[in-house]
Every structure is written in C-alpha cells, then in structure tokens.
C-alpha cells in the first residue's frame, strides 16, 4: 500500500542532538535578549488579535522550558510592554510554565503539532495556571506565527543552523509539514 493510503498521525517530536545542546551551553545569554525583545515586538505588532484571545492572561508570567536546551525563556506578553528573556533556568513565581523538547514547543507554536496530543503522550508538561497556559497556546495557534524562524533566525548564524536542524527533524514527521499528506 502506498504511503498516502495510511492515515497515521504521529506526534512524538524529536529531541535535539546533544551536541547542539553542548555547543550552546557555554554561550552567554545576554546577546539573546535584544533578539528576543525584537521578536516579541514584531509579534505583538503583527498579531494584535493575540491579546483579545489572551484576555487578562496577557498580564501573566509564563515560563517556556525546552527540556533539551541548557536555557529557558520567560515570557510576559502584556500589551503595554511585552517582555521575553532567556534564563539559565526558570525562576520561581511564574504563573504557568510549559516544558518539553524544543521541537515539540516550536511545532505546537507553529501549529504543526497538537498540544493536547503532546500532553497525552507526556512529551509536554504544564505546571501552574493551566487556564493561562491554554489561553496562550490557543492564542498562538490562531495567530499562525512562524515562530521557529522568528525565534531562531534572530540569533545569527548559530540560530539559523539550529533552526535548520530543528526543522529538518520536524519535517521527517509525516504530520508535521502537512506536505506528506497530499
């Protein structure tokens, strides 16, 4: 039977190769911060609807923790002064945090992977204010942000290499790009 006759949907995102994680571990986080700020500013400008969906959850502090990276992100989407920064590890006092492999987080943010399915398979985990995390997920899913490009493209050559590696991994999944369906 040709491949197109099966309807399987896989959700398991790949983990990053450990060499990547090792390669970025010693890098200082400071250069990431302006890139993150720029990315967030672009997103807020391009997708004002995002805030309608987030409602009062926009005022909350989110932690995004890629489990295969030696750093994490803190996100405060509030419309007046959105803030995103890279941290070595997630601080206390966050309203909600979402953890999982980077490819899973990006796949979910880009709408190529289903967040609930990642949750059912225990790839992804949510702590704290589940409603806030859900609102963020739904708002981003609707906004159709090219999150990976924005996130990693802003970090210079290493970021681009990183993005390519992640994308290649995602593309090996039949469900991911949508292209393998047709």
């Amino acid at each position: 039977m040709p491949e197109s006759e099966t309807t399987g949907l896989r959700v398991m995102p790949p983990r990053l190769p450990s060499w990547l994680s090792r390669a970025v571990a010693p890098l200082p986080l400071a250069p990431l911060q302006p890139a993150l700020a720029l990315m967030l500013a672009r997103i807020s400008r391009a997708h004002p609807d995002l805030y309608d969906r987030l409602g009062n959850h926009a005022e909350k502090r989110f932690g995004i923790g890629p489990t295969d990276l030696p750093f994490a992100f803190v996100l405060e989407p509030r419309p007046s002064r959105p803030l995103a920064r890279a941290v070595r590890s997630l601080p206390g006092g966050l309203d909600a945090s979402i953890r999982g492999p980077l490819a899973g987080l990006i796949g979910m943010a880009e709408g190529t992977l289903d967040g609930d399915a990642l949750f059912f398979s225990r790839v992804l985990w949510v702590e704290g204010d589940v409603a806030a995390a859900l609102a963020l997920r739904n708002a981003i899913d609707d906004a159709r942000i090219d999150f990976g490009k924005l996130l990693l493209g802003g970090f210079g050559p290493l970021g681009v290499r990183f993005a390519d590696a992640v994308r290649q991994r995602i593309r090996t999944l039949p469900a991911a790009g949508g292209t393998s369906w047709s």
Partner: protein, 325 residues
C-alpha cells in the same frame, strides 16, 4: 455523508476547510457555547469573516449556541442567535428549550439543529424537537449503538448527526453536573467541563497527580499516557477496587464503524475537538476525508491510526458497538 469538523479559532476553521470539511461548527467567545475555554472561539467579526471564507470554498458553518441560558440574562443568548443568523450561519446548534423556542419564532427560516447537549436519545424525543421547533437535524448522544441509531433514523423525519472521533462523554450529555459539583462550573451553565482554571498538576512520589477543584482525579506513572483531567475518566476507589470506574482516558474513534453508520442512514459524521489545535484539525479531518472517499468508491478504507491524537493514546468505538454498556 457530510463531514462536520470543529473549529476553535479562525485559523482552525481555515485549516478544516483546506483539509476537506463539508461543514464546520464553532461558537462565540462567551458562555453561550459549550466549549467556552480560555483563548478559544470567535468574536462577532471573526465569525462573519470566517463564514464568508467558508462559503467561498463551498463549506457550511454551523454555529453552536448550546449552553442553557442563564435566568435573567436570556438577552445574551438571544443576541448570540440573532448575530449568528445575521452573520450567515447555515444552521444553529441549540440545546435549551428557551433558545430553540426563541430561534424558531424569531428566525423561522433559519435551519436549526438539536445539540447533543439536548440529549435527544430516542425517536419520541426527536419528534418533540422536530414538531415543536421545526428542527431539521439532531446530534445524537453518545449512548446509542448502531442498531438503535438505525431504528431512530427509520422512525425520524429529521436528519441525524453522530460523533465519530474525539472526546467521549460517558455520561449522557447535557445532564451531567459532575464538573460543577467539583468546581462550581458546568457544561450546561458555563460551557465548560472540568475547567482548566481548576486543574492542577503536581509531582508526588514520582507520580504526576492531577486534581480538579482540589479532588484528586488521577495519578500517572512516568511515561504513562495521560488524559484530560475530566471526572468521568479519573481513577477512583470503591469497595470493589480502584481504577477507572467510569471510563479509561480514551477517545472515540469510530472510523471502523463508518460503513455501518452510513448503512444505518446517518446524514453527517462529526469530529469533536473545538479545543484542539490546527494540527489536530488538519490531521484528523484529512484522515476522515480519505476514509470517506474510500468508502464512497467501494474501496476498503485505509487504516486510521490516530491513536496519538487520543486521550490516553487509546481509542474506543464507545457505545456504537453493543457491549460497551
């Protein structure tokens, strides 16, 4: 056979259109619809634009206004009905006697569907909705087997729609207050079941424990597939032992039942999941489109493997097969 697909956001609606939906159901961003989840659903403007988009692609949009109107605030539900009609909805999906009565009187030309939340489980109940409100279709509760569905179709003048994939209520829909008993918020009144605002996860002795409104719902070992923290799919203790006393964390996948359901005379197949992301919508809709195409052409349908999309990564054909009860 129509394929009815969920959409929680305009982006999901477009994904469903592109994936081959015949019709899409969605609701307003408030308590008038039974998937009133954070960050989900449509503003008035989004609905109007999305209906226009769907219609350009020859796809229908059914607007779910399927909670029970709050006493003293019926205006909110009336406005939802009026606005959905004005936006060009192809049908309204309603559950409450009050909303059905209002829509039938105020918008006599509007096509009305009886929501699964109305729990119309037999031909007499269906006849009541058809005769009282001119309802054209009924969404059957997930408590019936295929033979019972066939009998309903034979006896009923209205079309029938059944769920074929996604979340599975094990209690009769529209008559369940388990959620509000634990959290104060219910599907009927607030459009939520086991609301995220009342869910918490905690690590305890190497297990991940989920709680709802402070009640422990489940405890998962490392790597064990998880489900939504809904009460009817939790682990509990009884004098006869502990475990999933109502239902395991499973989703409905009735793909293998599609030929039987078609032969039973069902008009439309419905996919649950307005709360899911675009990836789910696109994947599941494409998958069912292929299966239906194969059935139409008399080919044996391709094997569906959507287990990864399912709660607990496990599927059931639920009540459709005799013996589930």
């Amino acid at each position: 056979m129509e394929l009815i697909c969920p959409a929680g956001t305009p982006a999901s609606l477009e994904a469903a259109v592109e994936a081959g939906a015949d019709a899409i159901y969605c609701g307003f961003r408030d308590e008038t619809n039974a998937r009133n989840f954070p960050g989900l659903n449509f503003s008035r403007d989004e609905l109007k634009k999305s209906i226009a988009f769907a219609h350009r692609h020859g796809v229908k949009v059914l607007v779910a206004i399927n909670t029970f109107a709050r006493a003293g605030s019926f205006g909110l539900w009336q406005a939802a009905i009026d606005d959905a009609v004005a936006a060009g909805a192809d049908a309204l999906i309603l559950a409450d006697l009050a909303t059905l009565d209002y829509a039938a009187r105020r918008h006599p030309a509007q096509r009305l569907h009886v929501s699964v939340q109305a729990g119309a489980a037999n031909p007499d109940a269906i006849r009541f909705y058809a005769e009282s409100f001119g309802a054209r279709r009924v969404v059957l509760p997930r408590v019936l087997n295929v033979m019972e569905i066939a009998a309903i179709v034979r006896e009923s003048a209205v079309e029938t729609e059944v769920f074929v994939f996604g979340g599975l209520c094990v209690m009769e829909e529209g008559r369940c207050s388990l959620s509000s008993y634990a959290t104060g918020q219910s599907p009927n009144m607030n459009g939520v079941c086991s609301p995220a605002s009342d869910v918490a996860y905690a690590e305890r002795d190497g297990q991940v424990v989920s709680t709802l409104g402070g009640f422990t719902i489940n405890s998962f070992g490392k790597g064990e597939p998880a489900g939504y923290p809904t009460l009817c799919k939790g682990r509990f203790a009884t004098p006869k032992g502990s475990g999933y006393i109502f239902e395991e964390p499973v989703s409905l996948d009735a793909a293998v039942m599609l030929p039987a359901l078609r032969d039973a005379g069902v008009t439309a197949f419905k996919i649950e999941g307005r709360q899911r992301g675009r990836a789910y919508i696109a994947g599941v809709v494409r998958s069912f489109r292929k299966i239906l195409a194969a059935i139409d052409e008399g080919r044996s349908p391709p094997a569906a493997d959507l287990a990864a999309m399912a709660e607990g990564q496990t599927s059931t054909v639920g009540a459709y097969r005799k013996g589930w009860r």
